[in-house]
């Protein structure tokens, strides 16, 4: 009964979205106030309906209603409650329902909090948002119904894939979706602006919070996924350049470019049509990502051919919205006149460089991701493009970006001089080179990876800090004055500092884990002892454990350093009985300087166990850096100057004053 109510609510949401897509759009065009006004209640009602539908599905999972086909296929009565809930989106149908839930939540938020928006723009934005929703409702209702019942329900479910029964991964999809779908807001704003034929600083300010929020969620989502891979997959790999990972990385890169180019529109009224194009592309890459994951086309062309319905549907959505928006762009972008002039050495030019590098890097990832498909279709070659390619082809762009970042970030708008900007950064430059030299002297042999990585990382952190300190001191106040000023600094300044230094921290982690990891693989007998880098590891023994829905073999290891106890680690090898699969649970002693990472493997014929042990120096900074970036976006979101709720009049007065 609840299940059917959910299904019904979903269909009702679809119908509301059709109305919301048409009525306000017409109203905005004809100047019919009431029609344009209709966008707001529609957006709210649509959200309430989808939320009802999602709640109904969640109820089916929590109550283990195995007459619902989706629950029977992805849940189990003995599963912990948390994973019953996260199981809702741990499958195709449920995850698409989550997608539209977030889409309509963003729409409702824009309707309720966008009071400062001109009615015409708001009506159009919400209408475009509804049209996107419309397409996805149709997709769910006609090809991926999550509420389908089974004629003869089984006694128990088939369980959720055990790898997904993990907090890191449980919350990875919602964050990614918040990011992906958040970009639909930027897209809707871009399309609405093209229809109006006008973009100004105010437009850039309205789009900014949505882009920032979705960028923040994407950053967190990608970081969660990578962290999960690090501790769950069993050898500490954290990024594989897998098509599915690239699918989330490409929108992130484009959204990063968009955030930066939008500041040029906002501050200088230049780069308008480019910014609109980026907003369209960012969401198109999100849709392409959905297509990649949902169709399975890149896993294997054959997987796609056996069940093409879903893939073709999403491809059609992708083609319709990207194609439609780009067509509109080609017709209207000439109307978006740029205003501000600037010289070749200016913040504007630096941000253009940033955009150039980010977009080319994205295209490299895109080409690499789709190359195997293209090669098979056009050259009849079956080939692979794996991590070694991306490391060669992608990394140089990020190195270049990191190298110019602090300098570009400190250049003044309109006109500046490199020498003038560099003067503030001499200290940072000198210390960074010293850090690189230190890294070089610390290692025995090894390539240039760590020295270059350390130089860039400290250059980013110190360069951003120098810029921040300059802002905070204002050139005159003493230290106590500075601290008072720190609290009063606009959120956007904090955001810039946090995000840029976060990038530096991530580079630090990547460089040291890649260059300096210590690995030890051996067959060890219980009771034996071995060296791992500067640590000594004692393999104490093995026990069998019984979990709620798994059985497990757990090893116990004492790690010490120079006779001092460091940690006891208990890696496990789990067997999930219902799903019939195994997982390895690495044991990690986490630290700011290094992780000690132990994995227990199969029992050997002589009674020993295959043991893999690693020392991963500075590993956690990869994700701490990502947290800094997300915190930067959050700080920027709370910048009072961009507060969404502020009445239009007040902000207009402030701008003129």
């Amino acid at each position: 009964m609840v299940n059917e109510l959910g299904h019904f609510a979903l269909i009702a949401a679809f119908l509301v979205s059709v109305v919301q897509g048409i009525v306000p759009m017409v109203g905005a065009g004809k100047g019919w106030f009431a029609w344009a006004q209709a966008a707001v209640p529609c957006a709210v009602v649509q959200f309430v309906l989808v939320a009802t539908s999602f709640a109904a599905l969640t109820a089916a999972f929590v109550g283990s209603d195995f007459s619902v086909s989706l629950v029977a296929g992805n849940s189990h009565a003995a599963k912990p409650i948390l994973y019953k809930i996260t199981g809702v989106w741990g499958n195709h149908e449920g995850s698409m329902l989550l997608w539209v839930l977030i889409l309509s939540a963003f729409g409702a938020a824009a309707a309720l909090f966008g009071r400062g928006l001109p009615l015409r723009l708001k009506a159009r934005v919400l209408a475009v948002q509804a049209l996107v929703g419309c397409a996805f409702y149709a997709f769910i209702i006609f090809s991926s119904n999550p509420f389908a019942r089974l004629a003869s329900p089984p006694f128990n479910g088939r369980d959720l894939n055990p790898l997904l029964q993990d907090p890191g991964l449980a919350f990875h999809p919602p964050f990614l979706y918040l990011g992906y779908v958040g970009l639909s807001m930027s897209f809707s704003f871009a399309v609405a602006a093209l229809i109006e034929g006008k973009i100004d600083a105010a437009w850039a300010r309205w789009v900014r919070p949505w882009t920032l929020a979705s960028w923040m969620f994407l950053t967190l989502g990608i970081a969660l996924g990578s962290w999960w891979a690090y501790y769950e997959l069993g050898w500490g790999g954290w990024w594989f350049w897998d098509p599915v990972e690239n699918a989330s990385f490409m929108p992130w890169l484009i959204a990063t470019a968009l955030l930066h180019s939008a500041t040029v529109v906002e501050k200088r009224e230049s780069l308008k049509s480019w910014t609109v194009l980026l907003a369209i592309l960012a969401f198109s890459f999100s849709l392409a990502g959905t297509f990649i994951v949902r169709s399975g086309v890149l896993t294997s062309v054959h997987a796609f051919a056996t069940d093409p319905a879903r893939g073709v549907f999403i491809l059609a959505i992708l083609g319709l919205f990207t194609g439609g928006a780009l067509l509109l762009y080609s017709l209207r972008s000439a109307q978006l006149l740029a205003k501000g002039a600037f010289s070749a050495t200016s913040r504007e030019s630096a941000l253009i460089m940033n955009n150039l590098l980010l977009v080319v890097a994205t295209l490299v990832v895109f080409i690499g991701t789709f190359w195997p498909l293209a090669a098979e279709l056009f050259f009849d070659r079956k080939l692979s493009v794996g991590p070694p390619f991306f490391e060669i082809a992608f990394t140089p762009f990020m190195v270049a970006l990191a190298a110019i970042l602090p300098l570009g970030a400190i250049l003044p708008w309109k006109r500046g001089s490199i020498a003038g900007a560099a003067r503030d950064l001499y200290g940072a430059m000198a210390v960074s080179l010293a850090c690189g030299a230190l890294a070089w002297s610390l290692q025995t042999g090894g390539g240039m990876l760590a020295p270059i990585g350390f130089t860039l990382a400290s250059w980013l952190v110190l360069g951003s800090a120098a810029d921040f300190a300059r802002r905070a001191s204002g050139g005159r106040a003493g230290v106590p004055g500075s601290i008072a000023r720190l609290a009063g600094l606009p959120g956007a300044i904090w955001g810039k500092f946090l995000a840029h230094s976060g990038l530096g921290l991530t580079i630090l982690g990547i460089a040291s884990i890649t260059a300096w990891e210590v690995e030890d693989i051996r067959a060890a007998m219980p009771g034996s002892r071995y060296d791992l880098g500067s640590y000594s590891v004692e393999f104490i023994g093995v026990r069998e454990l019984q979990g709620p829905n798994f059985v497990s073999i757990a090893g116990e290891f004492n790690v010490s350093s120079g006779g001092d106890f460091v940690a006891t680690l208990r890696p496990e090898k789990r067997f999930y009985t219902a799903a019939g699969t195994q997982t390895t649970e690495a044991a990690i002693d986490m630290g700011f300087m290094r992780d000690i990472y132990i994995v227990i493997g199969d029992r050997q014929p002589d009674g020993g166990y295959a043991i893999r042990s690693y020392v991963k120096p500075l590993a956690n900074w990869i994700w701490i850096g990502a947290l800094f970036m997300a915190a930067g976006a959050l700080a920027s979101l709370f910048d009072r100057r961009y507060r969404v709720g502020i009445a239009a009049g007040a902000s207009a007065r402030a701008r003129i004053a």
């Binding site: 997904l164 490299v364 007065r653």
Partner: protein
């Protein structure tokens, strides 16, 4: 959305890191080369995993083949050729530089060059102050005057 990737890969193999203690070569330099080569070869039945990362049986066989060839004094390139002869170029995670693949490797630099040229042109053009009319529309100017008049 990585979880889906993983879900799919599970169909092929269970997770856990790869190289087994018994496989490791005595000579650390040969072993280092073996690891390097392995990380460039694809596990054919897995989803986008190198044989160095996969614990599928096929990957383990291939690791043994690579190490055997190394023990016999073969060059890296001989080994890649040998494996490609047997399994096709699909096995290479780093695509070779033959035929259309040159385009794959060149695409980044080419796009960068074109992009740089376009940006340079744009920046040159933006250096001159634009000669367009006052960008405020009439109704906007009216509103501005209203606000300023307050």
């Amino acid at each position: 959305m990585k979880w889906l990737a993983v879900a799919l890969s599970l169909l092929a193999a269970t997770m856990s890191a790869a190289v087994e203690p018994g496989e490791i070569l005595e000579d650390p330099r040969l072993e280092a080369r073996a690891r390097e080569i392995s990380s460039n070869l694809r596990c054919l039945i897995c989803r986008n995993e190198s044989i160095d990362d996969s614990n599928a049986e096929l990957a383990s066989d291939l690791r043994r083949i690579v190490r055997e060839q190394l023990r016999n004094g073969k060059d890296d390139s001989d080994i890649y050729d040998f494996v490609v002869d047997r399994y096709g170029e699909f096995v290479l995670l780093r695509p070779n530089l033959k035929g259309a693949n040159i385009l794959l490797y060149a695409s980044g630099p080419i796009i960068l060059l074109i992009g740089t040229a376009l940006c340079a042109l744009y920046i040159r053009q933006r250096r001159k102050p634009s000669r367009q009319k006052d960008a405020l529309r009439d109704d906007e100017r009216e509103r501005l005057e209203q606000i300023l008049g307050q």
